[in-house]
């Protein structure tokens, strides 16, 4: 038999025998580990942020901004325009028909 023909014979098939399932189990475990790690990191960062950031001052600042916006005429008019545009877009107004 020619050496090239011999070499060109396809590799003998290898039976799966649960190999693919094992790989997918490992992948799922890896993903779970990553999610747990992400959760722990997020909780740690949030805890550190709560401890180090001036939360009270930030809350007061945010309250002030919200109150200012809520009592502003310009913001009110803008909100009504946006709402009217949205309703017009959804064809809620049929008064011209």
């Amino acid at each position: 038999m020619n050496i090239d023909d011999l070499l060109s014979e396809p590799l003998a098939p290898v039976a799966d025998n649960g190999f693919s399932a094992q790989v997918m189990t490992q992948i799922r475990r890896q993903e779970q580990r990553q999610l747990i790690l992400l959760g722990i990191t997020a909780a740690f960062v949030a805890t550190v942020a709560c401890l180090l950031l001036p939360v009270t001052a930030l809350t007061e600042l945010l309250n002030g901004i919200v109150i200012t916006l809520a009592t502003s005429l310009e913001v009110g008019v803008a909100a009504v325009v946006i709402l009217a545009t949205w309703l017009f877009d959804r064809q809620f107004f049929h008064f011209w028909n």
């Binding site: 090239d4 070499l7 014979e9 003998a12 997918m24 992948i27 890896q30």
Partner: protein, 183 residues
């Protein structure tokens, strides 16, 4: 073409890039046999090591799936498998990868292999790992020279040199064994 031109596999690869684990599972099932066969040959029939390397290859492929760009998914897998194999070879430097047991008892090929195939595998085991990989990719797995060079991360000229030397050594070994068998 070194990969069956299956639209299903291309679609699965596209879905896997988007993080679809089920699609990746489809790719694992489709490619596991050829990848494990390739690694079996690299590890000279050490089925346990070949399976470990194949598993690591698939895990790394899933982790780096976003880096997969071209249309030859199996070629990309072989490149990862080859780098994993080299890492293992370096790790085992003291005991030398070539000291791995040749044709271990649980090698699937040996169970029903023809005598010629057995001779080929034995002769393959005496080649340098790079020659084994180059010959397997270019002949048994049907890679083009360019695809094989890319998978092994070597220049095209170097690949051709490995193929020619490996083929010549293989032919010599098989001829010698045939003479011994006849005599």
């Amino acid at each position: 073409m070194c990969e069956p031109d299956s639209p299903t596999l291309h679609a699965a690869a596209a879905l896997a890039i988007k993080g679809d684990a089920a699609a990746f599972g489809h790719l694992v099932r489709a490619h596991q046999s050829r990848l494990r066969g390739f690694l079996l040959r690299l590890t000279k029939g050490n089925a346990a090591l070949a399976d470990d390397l194949a598993q690591e290859t698939f895990l790394e492929a899933f982790k780096k799936i976003a880096q997969y760009a071209d249309g030859n998914f199996f070629g990309w897998l072989c490149a990862i498998a080859w780098s994993r194999f080299l890492m293992e070879a370096r790790k085992r430097r003291l005991e030398n990868l070539d000291d791995l047991p040749e044709m271990a008892e649980d090698v699937p090929e040996a169970e029903n292999a023809s005598l010629i195939r057995h001779d080929l595998e034995s002769a393959m085991a005496s080649l340098h790992p790079m020659q084994r990989a180059a010959l397997t990719l270019c002949f048994a797995l049907g890679f083009s020279n360019e695809e094989a060079a890319a998978a092994l991360n070597i220049p095209l000229g170097t690949l051709k040199s490995h193929v020619n030397r490996g083929r010549a050594k293989l032919a010599l070994l098989l001829t010698d064994w045939r003479k011994v068998a006849v005599s």
